[in-house]
Every structure is written in C-alpha cells, then in structure tokens.
C-alpha cells in the first residue's frame, strides 16, 4: 500500500525537470545500459530521445524477443454491463455524456451465449468488463460471470470497478487469472477534474486496487494510463514506476501495461494532450527498455495498419474482433458502446496479420488445471470421459 508514497516522491514538477534536463548524452547512456535507472527512463521519454527512435526500436525488439519469443497472445473483451455510476467526462458510458443506445447488464444465460460465440473463434483468453457500478454488477454477479466464462476459456480476467482484497480473492477462488485496472491518470488534479461521481472519485482506493488484486492471488496484473488526459511523458513515467513497484510487491504476478489513446470523446470533453503515433512509439520503446519483462497489451482502439506495425516494437498481447457493447457478439442488440473500435478485423484476420509479421498467434497460455475449484473437478471428469 506504499505506491502512494512512491508517487508522492515524484511530483509532476520533479519529473518534468528531470525530463527537461535530459541531454543527448543522457539518451546515449540510457541506450548503453543493461538495467535502466529512473533517470535513464526520463531521458528516453524526453524530446531528446525522439531523434533516436530507430536505435531504441532495435533494442526493444531484441529484448522483447528474448523474453517473450516471437509470439503474440490473443484475447477478447466481453462487456457484461454498460450501466455506470461514475461520471468520467471522457467516457461514453457516463450518463452525463449523453450517449444513445440501450443500457443493460447481461443475464447468466446471455453471458453463456457471448462465451459460446467467442469460443467458436478459438479464443481461450477473455477479459470481462463492467461499468463502475457495484449496484448493477455486484460481487456475486462477477463471481458467477467468472465461473461461467471459465467453462469456456482457459484464462479469465476482469476489468471492473476497484474491489476490496476480499472481493478479488472471491473471484480468484472461482478461477480468475488476471485483473486489469487502469488508473486513467496518475495526476491527482486531473484525476479529480475528470472523475466527477461515484466510488471512482477515490484516487487512493483505485491506486491501491491492483496491489490488492495481487495479494489476493491474481496472476496477471495489468495497469494503464488513458493517454490524452495529461502530459504523456509524465503519465508513462509514473506508470513505469507503478509497474516496477508491482513487480517487487507482487513478485508472483506477471505485470503488464497498456497505453490506450483517447481518440474520440463525448462533446463535453476536449482532449487536451493528444498523443501522436510517433509519440506513442517513443513511449512504448522507453517502457520496454526500462521494463524488459513486462507485457504490453494493445487493444482495438488503435487502427489496424498501426497495430500491425507496432507488433515488433514490444507488444505481447492483442485483442481482436472486439465489441465494446454488452451482448455485442451474440445478441445483436444495439446497446451503448463504451467507445468505437478502430481495428474492426475478425479474430482470424488479426491472427493472419500476426503470422504475416513473423509471429505466432497464441490463443492459449494458461490452463484450468492451475486452479482447483469444484467446477474444475467436474469438467475434468467430463473431459476425460469425452476422450474415452
């Protein structure tokens, strides 16, 4: 529960000064080092490093290949509910954003139909999402959803509102592998400005949530900053510190990072700090050199052509064929979407693009046998019987 202390020791002006002070020789030194210091990270996030992208890319490519091989994991999100009690100015799920489309929470039977549709594509790794609404999707509901999804997929993760450690433990006991929780922004003032209602307003409770998930036994911990809310150089610096902190505190969990860019926002929210493609590449490379063992998730928020080119630059997991609407795979109802995806290719097309890039698309990288639940035992008997 000490990441707040770490964060407080790196206030925006201190990080800003460090980044501004970096000269070309600092970038050179960072590129020559085997293990990077926070000063090196700042140098690689600085404008000075923008001229060294090709060198950084070569190093990042080599480090990623050594750690992860030439493989890309495939996953798909399942939106369980678009009912949301928070008011995030940038999000289409917020009531105050004035979005159209039906709001609903999937029933257990509907969750099954979504799972069946996705399992037919070959997915073995799914991410279950809800809005920030414990009323619409309480813990019991989440536990049931995890148990259902586990009947269909080897790996189930959640991206839901921040839970207590006990809450996460209940989901882990039902077979949950991973927890994704984006801080959105690590800048406290910006955080307060864009989050206007609900439990999500509690900055510290959200900041500590991913560590609670790790202590509860989640094996994959995924963090992220929503790029566009604040200066990306600072956001990425803080996120990198957070990842390194989690690697030490939750040493049995694999840490991964996401860098979603806010591309479209509701009319009331103007994107103050847009991030260009070139800047996105720079921040990915800086992160990879600082954190060689951390996974990189790349969602369908990004364009298909850009995603294909980012594959060799450190990406380890990609979503494919995603819908951000509850029921978007099997129910055929025009429910409200969280955001419009840019890469609308089918999972098969994305897998083919990964192969064309010289990588092996990996559908399965976990196994039900890791977790023992009542359900597992029943399934195992079934699977064995089927084989006979």
């Amino acid at each position: 529960m000490d990441f707040l202390k770490v964060l407080k020791s790196w206030p925006a002006d201190r990080v800003h000064r460090l980044i501004e002070a970096a000269g070309p020789e600092d970038v050179s030194r960072a590129l020559a080092r085997e293990q990077l210091s926070v000063e090196d990270l700042a140098a690689l996030l600085s404008p000075q490093a923008a001229a060294r992208l090709e060198e950084m890319a070569r190093l990042a490519h080599r480090l990623t290949r050594r750690q992860f091989g030439r493989t890309i994991g495939l996953y798909v999100p399942i939106y369980l509910s678009n009912i949301c009690g928070a008011d995030c100015t940038y999000c289409f799920y917020a009531v105050q954003s004035g979005g159209h489309g039906a709001r609903r929470t999937l029933t257990p039977d509907e969750i099954r139909r979504e799972c069946e549709a996705l399992a037919r594509h070959g997915f073995q790794t799914v991410l279950l999402l809800t809005g920030d609404a414990p009323q619409a999707a309480p813990l019991d509901y989440l536990a049931r959803a995890v148990a259902i999804a586990r009947e269909y997929f080897a790996s189930v993760s959640v991206e839901v509102y921040a839970l207590s450690e006990e809450g996460y433990r209940r989901l882990v006991d039902r077979g949950l592998e991973g927890v994704t929780l984006y801080m959105e922004t690590y800048d406290r003032d910006t955080y307060a400005r864009v989050h206007r209602r609900g439990q999500k307003q509690d900055f510290v409770y959200r900041l500590d949530a991913i560590e609670r998930a790790g202590r509860a036994g989640a094996r994959r911990l995924s963090i992220g900053a929503l790029l566009g809310l604040f200066d990306w150089r600072l956001e990425v610096f803080w996120m990198a510190l957070h990842a390194r902190y989690l690697q030490k505190e939750c040493w049995q969990s694999a840490v991964s990072v996401s860098f979603p860019r806010l591309r479209n926002a509701p009319p009331r929210h103007s994107i103050l700090h847009p991030v260009s493609d070139r800047e996105l590449v720079q921040l990915m490379l800086a992160l990879r050199l600082f954190l060689p063992e951390v996974g990189f998730n790349l969602s369908t928020r990004e364009r298909a052509d850009l995603r294909d080119r980012l594959i060799p630059l450190g990406v380890t997991m990609m979503s494919a064929g995603s819908s951000t609407r509850p029921g978007g795979y099997a129910l055929g109802e025009e429910t409200l979407a969280q955001f419009e995806t840019e890469d609308q290719r089918s999972p098969e097309e994305v897998a083919a693009a990964i192969r064309r890039a010289g990588y092996d698309p990996v559908w399965k990288d976990f196994d039900r046998a890791f977790c023992e639940t009542q359900q597992f035992q029943e399934e195992n008997i079934f699977a064995h019987g089927e084989q006979l």
Binding site: F68, W251, A254, K364, A369
Partner: protein, 279 residues
C-alpha cells in the same frame, strides 16, 4: 562439391550420422535409452514451420511442451502439438508457471489423463520475471509425483545439495540451470554444476541459459549428460541451422568429455622440473 548445401538439404541424416558416433554411449533416463543428448523446448517459436525445422535438424528425441501453452484437447489445431511426432519424440510436458506443488501435480495429472506419458518436467517457477525455480515447492512436488508413479525431471537452481535431495527422493534426472531462462548467458553457474555432476547418480541435464553452441559444448565437456535448449533456437534467424549447430556441439562436447580433456594450465609446463634434483 558443395558441403554447405549437402548439410542443409539433409540435416536429419547428418545429425543421425553424428549421433552414431556415440551409439555405444546412450543417455539412459528411467531405464529408457536415448541416442540424442540434446533436448529441445518448444516455446517462443514464430511459427509451426520454424519449430518443425528446428526439431528435424536437432535430432532431439525428448521434446518439452508447456502444459499452460498447448491445447491437449485440440492437438491438431495447436501450433506446437501439431508439429510433434509421438513416434519420434518423447513429449515431455512441463509445469511452467506453477506456483505451488499442488498446481504442478494437477497439471501433471491432467497431462496423463489426456494420454501423455507419465513423465513430467517439473518447473515450479512462481515468479514470472526471471522464471527461477522454487526449491521448496519443487521438492514437495517431486515427492508427491513420484508417489503417484510419475517419472520426474526437475528444473532446479544449480544447488548441489538440492540435487542430492531430489535424487534421494527418486527423480529420474536433475536439471540445473546454467543461467536464467532466455538469458543466453551460458554456463554462469559453472562451479556449482561441476559439483552436481561430480556427485550425481542420476543424469544431469543443463537446462536454461545456453545461448550458443559453445555453451552447450562447454556443459557437455564438463560431463553433463545432456542439455536442453529453447530460446536460442526460437530466436535464431535460421531455426534449423541453429538446431543443427547445437546438435553438433552437444556431440563434440560429449566426445571431448569421453576422450578426456587435459587440465587447463595457467602457465607453460616447466621444462626443468622443480623436483628434478630428487632423482
């Protein structure tokens, strides 16, 4: 005559011929004899074709697969399982990613229930960053699996006492690491591996960290019974070529070990002995 082309056209034949140099010297694990002392891991390859090329050129008979990664229910569509030939390869499932003995045991049972041989490469790697083995859980899992009739090949830190403890429990081999998985750093644990080889009554397989054929040769020259390589093959530009190079290095190292290497000298041997006056 173009030797280079001949080699690349029939790597399998070449390695088979080279393996014949040591037919009188098989690797015996749990009573089963193997001609090849080169084991191959199947992770991280860019495609099924790349893996196929590496396996063919390696001449490997023992091939390890991560149970977390492969889909044993649908082997025909799995990019790893579809390449393996149960007639030629002993498929050695590994429990990579298991954090506790119980998890490793469950994975091993699952593999056996799905029809694999009851052999298991025990990998208790609770931390995902360096994938280092947990000695406490490894010992516990080995005991549980041996009781259930599994042939156990444990991946361990290069710890000579742990190696003896596992041998006493009845593991079929010990598999100490040369360096962290994927690091390509070579036999960094050389001094401890030397002690393990000296003391061990079961085959010693140097696993992890071997990044170049010279590293494999070094381990074999020291008297290791076999080596296991994965990342160096998966990451090569020419997967078959690199597998062949490793296979040859493994044989060369073995032959050198059997031939008896001379001691390494720090200075030239003195031409007039210091104790000559005693004659």
């Amino acid at each position: 005559m173009n030797q280079g082309n001949q080699v690349s056209e029939s790597p399998q034949k070449l390695i088979s011929q080279i393996n014949n140099l040591t037919t009188d010297d098989p690797l015996v694990i749990a009573g089963r004899a193997f001609r090849s002392r080169f084991m191959v891991g199947t992770g991280k390859f860019p495609s099924a074709e790349a893996l196929r090329a590496a396996l063919a050129a390696s001449g490997a008979e023992i091939v390890t697969v991560a149970l977390r990664r492969v889909d044993l229910a649908k082997p025909q569509t799995d990019s790893i399982m579809s390449v393996l030939d149960p007639g030629r390869h002993l498929i050695l499932p590994n429990t990579s990613g298991a954090r506790t003995a119980e998890e490793a045991v469950r994975l091993a049972r699952m593999a056996r229930a799905m029809g694999l041989m009851p052999w298991v490469k025990l990998e208790l790697t609770p931390e995902p960053k360096y994938l280092l083995p947990d000695p406490v859980e490894t010992l516990r899992a080995a005991e549980m699996l041996i009781k259930e009739g599994f042939v156990v090949l444990p991946y361990i830190q290069a710890d000579p006492v742990l190696a003896k403890r596992l041998e006493e429990l009845g593991t079929a081999t010990v598999m100490p690491l040369g360096a962290p998985i994927g690091s390509n750093r070579g036999v960094r644990t050389r001094d401890m591996i030397r002690i393990i080889i000296e003391q061990s009554k079961v085959p010693v397989v140097v696993d992890a960290g071997l990044g170049a054929p010279s590293h494999a040769a070094e381990a074999m020259e020291m008297g290791a019974d076999a080596v296991l390589v994965n990342t160096a093959l998966a990451d090569a530009a020419d997967h078959g070529g690199m597998a062949q190079a490793f296979a040859m290095a493994v044989i060369a190292g073995r032959l050198a070990y059997r031939a008896g290497l001379g001691p390494v000298r720090e200075e030239a041997a003195a031409s007039s002995p210091l104790t000559g006056f005693l004659e």
